[in-house]
């Protein structure tokens, strides 16, 4: 959980560059990792982090100290990524059945068994499925929160997660 003491935050609110650098360094890896799962491209993920963190700095006056700083930063970052993907027609609206079908097909691809790393198998999942898995497992978002983000039902989030985890577990059991 990322959090900062009152002194750092007070300095950051006053525009102290060193305080901001300290905050950024703590947020960089989780921000980049999340952005990468959302947009699927390293260079683009770096741009997302850059733009989102500038928004964090510009909007620090709106941050309430009684709420989680990481939750606030993450909201800005995720919204920024989704906005970008929508503008560039990359926020694909696939039907749940179609995504499930693609997940199912993954298990039928023999080359999957040659993948050495779980991350490579994860990256073969449909983009929306990857995002659901990451947001649930790593970010600890609830199905309700994920559903709101995607403009879908909680059932969508639960089903996608269940199907994806099933494939990932199947890969682990077969190869290890």
């Amino acid at each position: 959980m990322i959090s900062f003491d009152d002194l750092i935050m007070a300095k950051a609110r006053k525009g102290d560059s060193n305080a901001w650098k300290h905050i950024y360094q703590s947020c960089e890896k989780p921000m980049y990792s999340l952005a990468l799962r959302m947009v699927g491209d390293k260079a683009l993920a770096e741009d997302m982090v850059q733009d989102a963190f500038i928004k964090v700095m510009d909007k620090i006056g709106q941050y309430r100290s009684d709420s989680s700083f990481w939750w606030w930063v993450r909201t800005i970052l995720v919204n920024h990524c989704i906005s970008f993907l929508r503008k560039n027609n990359r926020w694909v609206h696939q039907e749940e059945a179609e995504i499930e079908s693609r997940i199912q097909e993954l298990g039928e691809q023999p080359e999957i068994m040659h993948e050495k790393q779980l991350i490579k198998v994860l990256e073969r999942l449909p983009e929306q499925a990857q995002r659901v898995v990451y947001l649930y497992v790593v970010e600890g978002m609830t199905h309700k929160e994920i559903a709101e983000l995607f403009g879908k039902t909680q059932s969508f989030s639960k089903t996608l997660l269940s199907r994806s985890l099933s494939q990932l577990r199947s890969w682990i059991n077969t190869t290890h």
Binding site: S33, V49, F53, M57, L118, L122, R169
Partner: protein, 194 residues
């Protein structure tokens, strides 16, 4: 002892919450199947978390600092230029008042008027350019300072009823500074990229 059935959804959620902890909650110990499912998911989630945490390759903080510095400088320059425009506008009011007091137009007055119009036009171009172009910060600050000084001199000249020739000289200086500024912007915009 009765064992409470725990759903797969709840087992998965417990496995997620207990990533990297040596914890097997009481509720999943109820059956060997629950326990096995819990441990499998916990291991899976730990691997997903470990393998997805990556650091960027580029120096993003440096890019953030540079972008903020450029944005702040542009905002400062816009404030200075708007300030200068306000002074120029008040100058025009003074000029207008004095013009009405003249009984006939003179050559000097025509030249002053021409310089005032050219100055207004160049300022508009400069303001419009500054939203698109990144140029040397020191250069822009110097030019803004020069304009400020000229405008203060012009205000004094009008208020103290100085000679038309003196006033013309000051307006010509103002136009010259704006022209130099535009020329420098064009030269430097080719050199700087972000």
């Amino acid at each position: 002892m009765k064992h409470q059935q725990i759903s797969e959804t709840d087992i998965i959620e417990l496995a997620r919450q207990n990533r990297f902890k040596d914890t097997i909650p009481e509720s999943v110990r109820a059956s060997e199947d629950s326990r096995q499912l819990y441990l499998e998911h916990k291991a899976l989630f730990e691997t997903i978390t470990e393998q997805t945490q990556l650091a960027p390759e580029g120096d993003i903080w440096q890019r953030i600092e540079l972008k903020r510095e450029v944005a702040q400088h542009k905002r400062k320059n816009r404030r200075i230029m708007w300030g200068l425009s306000a002074i120029a506008a008040s100058l025009l009011m003074v000029v207008g008042l004095q013009w009405n007091a003249m009984t006939e137009a003179t050559n000097l007055q025509n030249q002053i008027q021409a310089n005032i119009l050219q100055s207004q036009h160049l300022e508009k171009v400069l303001l419009s350019n500054q939203s698109n172009v990144t140029v040397s910060f020191a250069t822009q600050a110097n030019i803004s300072q020069e304009l400020l000084e000229i405008d203060e001199a012009l205000q004094k000249a009008y208020l103290n009823n100085e000679s038309q020739q003196q006033i013309l000289k000051l307006w010509e200086s103002r136009v010259r500074i704006l022209l130099e500024s535009l020329t420098q912007e064009e030269e430097q915009s080719d050199l700087v990229t972000i």
